[in-house]
Amino acid sequence: MCSSRAQPGLAVSGAAMASRAGSAQRPNGGQQGKICQFKLVLLGESAVGKSSLVLRFVKGQFHEFQESTIGAPLTQLLSPTAAFLTQTVCLDETTVKFEIWDTAGQERYHSLAPMYYRGAQAAIVVYDIQSQDTFARAKTWVKELQRQASPNIVIALAGNKADLANKRMVEYEEAQAYAEDNGLLFMETSAKTAMNVNEIFLAIAKKLPKSEPGGGAAGAGSGRTLSDGDGDPRASAGCCNK
């Protein structure tokens, strides 16, 4: 298993990526492999560490006093140019490319647009193990996903800030039981120590369907994106082994 950033030569825009990726060279491995792209969204109460988890996963960094996403969305923090971040995870046969969407702070006043969930094939719902409130909120997000998102969405529950276990307010067993009841992946994570960060993304990557085109999401690739050039028919937003 490897977890490496997409190389510039390969990381063209999602649309072009999807249409060309069928036989793309892996930048580091050199072998022929199938690349599947999935939209992953992060949800959870403010300040539970959503952005920190992504920062750790995508850049291997942790900022102790990272400001709230309000006014400085993750995408701005990480890169001056990105609506969402991407990171690839290599499985045996396939490379899974995550298109990771940040809430851009819109969850704070319950103002997240339905567009955010639309076509998401995976979600990480994050809570802070030091707070029952954030765990309750996480359950609400799970319900919201079950109502709004694609029925096949893979949901992972992340009990973050596991490095602060001495201030724990949510028991591991409690969260695990809830996750089992609802068919969620579950791990306690720490963006600070990197505990289980790559692992949770890898677990999601393994669980995602890699053969059905689109996975029932994002219009199943039937629309097109617009660009400055000529018509650029967008291939499936999901798996792209056509």
Binding site: R5, A6, P8, A11, S13, G14, I70, G71, A72, P73, T75, Q76, S79, P80, T81, A82, A83, F84, L85, T86, E99, A104, G105, Q106, R108, Y109, H110, S111, A113, P114, M115, Y116, R118, R147, A218, G219, S222, G223, R224, T225, L226, S227, D228, D230, G231, R234, A237
Partner: protein
């Protein structure tokens, strides 16, 4: 919300969301509020269908419309404007304005230049038709199509082709292509005369190609109409089939996309937040009050529903949303289409528009179609006015009829710093919408929007 902002934007209709995005990108600190708990202002997209039936006071739809809460999503359109304070919001306030995007038009340019296009997917509208002599025909858009069209006789076809050839060769900045006609001084009628086209051809050209709503253009300088016809054919050239595009999941996606742009540039969003008052000092807006909270600001941008005392009613628009379980007859089973009924064909002063979208856009359950018939109200019986449109649809499963007032602002905002958008007009595309937005931005910001400020391309180019 007790903070200070450069601008507070009220209402999350498309115009306000674009403004919010452009202001945020330009470095302004923006607070964006909507009194409703959803994006898109007065009506955005209505899901599920039950809600739609309820809004119109109809009994619950039965299972034939598709199962489950997401069965038939009528995610077709746009808010309509009704000036009523939020506390009295009641039934029937919403309805949806049927519009398509011109593939080479202003909105697509805005989407691409701001990168918002990255969040959206579109489909080309499959057909564009015009009503003539009691039946519908495909709109010919170039010389070749003009020659094969069943809209006119052989000799008329040639004249029409010559007119289109002239327009295709016409270049605004190259007087040699004008063939002696000054586009700013020559009325469109003179151009029609030059090519000797008849009244029917004039109808098709002015209404189905130039997309004029009435006949005022005929007396006006030909430059505008030529530009509109060029926009039509350039849009057509872009993706084929028709010059129109429609977003997957409905038009409600557009404001959400621009709202996300604003949020990425630091804008704050609050839905479901009552707006009680625009606080004014010395004739200038200084804040917005919600309950006991006041957010301070230097400017307010809003739709007419937030400022009933600052707008004037300028007319009425009738719209009828029809649920069908079949395509529109005589459109080759197109899953999406536009039909224009030029005013003169049915003895009116303004055109009737029909637009059809369907399950292929994820706005309805499999096998279902959503047709919208609309026009500017001219009589006391608006429903009768759209009858020629309804008659083209074949059997209709359910109709939702609304008549909405159209409002324009009383002021340009430069004194009060309250910048108000106009209600959405009856045109079938977003060209006027974008012009209004860019004009409001210019008035509020002091200069045109600078696209080079878009540093976050919103593209994944790591």
């Amino acid at each position: 919300m007790d903070e200070e902002y450069d601008a507070i934007v009220l209402g999350t209709g498309l115009k306000e969301c674009i403004l919010s995005g452009l202001l945020s990108v330009s470095g302004k600190k923006v607070l964006h509020i909507d009194r409703n708990k959803y994006y898109g202002a007065e009506s955005a997209s209505i899901t599920p269908l039950e809600e739609m039936f309820e809004k119109f006071g109809l009994p619950k739809p039965d299972e034939s419309y598709g199962r489950g809460s997401r069965a038939v999503t009528v995610a077709v359109g746009y808010r309509a404007v009704q000036c009523r304070p939020h506390r009295r919001r009641g039934t029937g306030t919403s309805i949806l304005i049927p519009k398509f995007l011109m593939a080479n038009g202003q909105l697509v340019k805005l989407l691409i230049h701001t990168g918002v296009t990255r969040y959206l997917e579109f489909k080309s509208v499959e057909g564009s038709y015009v009503f003539k002599g009691g039946k519908i025909s495909k709109v010919p858009a170039d010389e070749r199509e003009a020659l094969s069209s069943d809209l006119m006789g052989l000799f008329e076809k040639r004249r029409f082709r010559n007119l289109l050839a002239y327009i295709q060769d016409f270049k605004e900045d190259d007087p040699t292509t004008w063939k002696g006609l000054d586009p700013k001084a020559t009325p469109m009628s003179a151009l029609f005369e030059k090519f000797g086209v008849d009244k029917n051809t004039i109808d098709v050209t002015g209404h189905a190609l130039a997309l004029h709503r009435d006949d005022e253009y005929i007396a006006q300088p030909m430059g505008t109409t030529i530009a509109r016809i060029k926009l039509y054919s350039e849009s057509l050239a872009r993706y084929g089939k028709s010059p129109f595009l429609y977003p997957m999941y409905g038009l409600g996606e557009l404001p959400q996309g621009f709202a996300r742009l604003a949020a990425i540039y630091g804008g704050t969003y609050m839905l479901d937040k009552p707006v009680d008052e625009i606080v004014v000092e010395n004739g200038r807006a200084v804040g917005v009050r919600s309950g006991t909270e006041v957010a301070k600001c230097k400017q307010v941008y809003c739709d007419p529903t937030y400022v009933p005392d600052r707008v004037t009613k300028s007319g009425r628009v009738v719209r009828c949303i029809c649920l069908l379980d079949h395509p529109i007859p005589n459109t080759k089973d197109a899953l999406s289409t536009q039909i224009i009924i030029p005013q003169k064909q049915v003895g009116r002063n303004s055109d009737i528009y029909i637009s059809l979208v369907s399950y292929t856009h994820q706005v309805a359950a499999k096998g279902w179609f959503v047709a919208m018939v609309s026009t500017t109200v001219e009589t006391d019986n608006p429903e009768a006015e759209i009858k020629p449109g309804l008659e083209l649809l074949g059997p209709i499963k359910q109709k939702f009829l609304t008549v909405n007032d159209h409002f324009v602002p009383n002021e340009d905002g430069t004194e009060s710093q309250v910048f108000i958008s106009s209600s959405y007009d009856a045109t079938s595309h977003f060209e006027t919408t974008c012009l209004d937005v860019l004009d409001i931005f210019r008035r509020g910001f002091g200069c045109d929007f600078d696209f080079s400020k878009v540093t976050h391309t919103l593209e994944d180019d790591q």
